[in-house]
Symmetry: C2
Subunit: 317 residues, 2 copies
């Protein structure tokens, strides 16, 4: 019998990574194309199709791929469309599932990046066997995926789980979504940098490795914190505190067994996790205290996005 495969595609603003995945969740082979260099969406779909055909042919998987799962920004599971994604060059509403499916000749199912990560974690990672958990991805922005009763929560319109846009500070920092105080403006990689600049301005006389640096990144701040820089450590303390507060809000909402954290900032170790866990427990309702686990993703970073998206390929039809 032929071995069944799925294809997972992770569409980012810069790169589109795609991989061939077997039923055990092994990424057998993967490849990528640049996302941003195609002025027209059709040209991009054409290039992506070529890449996929080559990948399947090279690995002897032709005719054995069950379906394609895609994780993409602002992707709507119900409509199969990408809706107004700020980080992509093509504007408006893009019929991704339909365009890709008719070109490749395979069923395509799409969802946003964080939901794809949640499905990956449930299928292959830290959430195996869990029916109620929350996924949170800490990247340039903050994404969320909510699983209740063993099912991904897409919501009425396919756009549920915008956990990066729960308000952390009423009338707080201006967010890309046009509102103020969203969690994403504090606890994403860019949020961490904003915090550092705020601290630099508020504590003008304090010596710190962060001062007079141009284009600070969250990595710079992490390195300074590891090197013992007080202000940089305070940035992580603050980030963990705010994130812990908000994860406690999520618990009041759906009472998950665990919250799984994924993405660059999640690799900051105790620098982030210690204040996060303290703040989380301090802010949980008494009925939830000590009950909810905070776990780090168990998916290998390089594979996670493709793997998560691919899990959706098994149910594509």
């Amino acid at each position: 019998m032929n071995k069944p495969y799925v294809v997972g595609i992770d569409i980012g603003g810069t790169n589109t990574v795609f991989g061939l995945v077997d039923a055990r969740g092994t990424v057998v082979a993967s490849s990528s194309i640049k996302t941003g260099i195609y002025p027209e969406f059709d040209q991009y779909i054409e290039a992506l199709n070529e890449g996929l055909q080559t990948l399947m042919k090279t690995n002897g998987a032709e005719g054995q791929v069950h379906g394609i799962g895609v994780g993409a920004p602002n992707a709507n599971y119900y409509t199969g469309k990408i809706e107004h994604a700020p980080n992509l060059v093509w504007k408006g509403v893009l019929p991704l599932a339909e365009a890709l499916s008719s070109k490749v000749g395979l069923p395509v199912s799409i969802t946003n990046d964080a939901n794809a990560a949640a499905i990956g974690e449930m299928t292959y990672g830290a959430a195996r066997g869990m029916k109620d958990f929350i996924m949170i991805t800490l990247g340039t922005g903050v994404g969320g995926g909510v699983v209740c009763n063993g099912s991904m929560v897409y919501g009425f319109d396919g756009m549920a789980g915008e956990l990066g846009h729960i308000t952390a500070r009423r009338n707080g920092r201006l967010c890309g979504c046009g509102r103020n105080g969203c969690l994403e403006t504090y606890c994403s990689a860019t949020g961490v940098v904003r915090t550092a600049y705020e601290f630099l301005e508020a504590r003008v006389d304090e010596p710190t490795l962060l001062r007079d640096r141009e284009n600070l990144t969250s990595k710079d701040i992490y390195d300074a914190a590891v090197a013992g820089d007080r202000m940089a450590q305070d940035v992580f303390e603050f980030t963990g505190k705010v994130l812990g507060e908000m994860l406690a809000e999520y618990v009041s909402f759906t009472s998950p067994q665990a919250i799984i954290i994924f993405g660059g900032l999640a690799k900051s170790g105790d620098m982030l996790m210690k204040p996060l866990r303290e703040s989380f427990e301090a802010n949980n309702m008494p009925i939830h205290k000590g009950k909810v686990k905070i776990l780090l993703s168990e998916l290998k970073e390089a594979d996670a996005a493709v793997l998560g998206a691919s899990a959706l390929g098994w149910e594509a039809k």
Copy 2:
């Protein structure tokens, strides 16, 4: 063929109301006992059983009741127990489902009041046909019920949907749960009264019908607002604003088709609903604006709690 019934029980701190409900959702007959007058939980179960037996006998429903559904404060759907309910005279963990089931000889399923209301609304009320909606009950406190993918969200430990304890104001008013700033401290009947006292203190020179009244109630404030009292109107304006902000947070979380409002304050009409709807739309993310309905409960207030609880009786086993 015998007509099938269920029994719905609504346990409140003061009264316990129970009714016989047919398959069409008609409360055929109902009765009640006082909740707080039994020093021992066993005595209460004994009295409740007597009441139920009489109700079933009087209405010729003996042997035709499929099951019993109970809505009670801090009730855990999974364990069948009431856990540390602050408004009941019996402390600790109470094995309600087991005690009642063995006494009455019928299967018993329990959940908290707001979840019961959500199930009632889904079965007989404003949420018929909806698979994704949120129920919010505005009473002495604020309760929540979350339905996703057509299923009640109980969460991992049976205590999901504590929407009254999502933080409306960081470091805000002290809540009965021991935390600060919970929605419940602003948008419940008691929260409205707290707002009025705050306004009275902050605006000492302003003439208002609310001043020098002892034991203000939310009803007094509503009456004053209707009579044209500026401060009382401002109290409702503020309450609607805060509630609208928080309902928008709920939308980012599970993207419901509608949010259904139930309880005393919901009867305040435009005094509450106008600022609420304005604040809700202003605070929704652009992708959700104009898409999510805010509806009032369609269940008759007198029947709603019993009806909601009874719907759970159909699945009790």
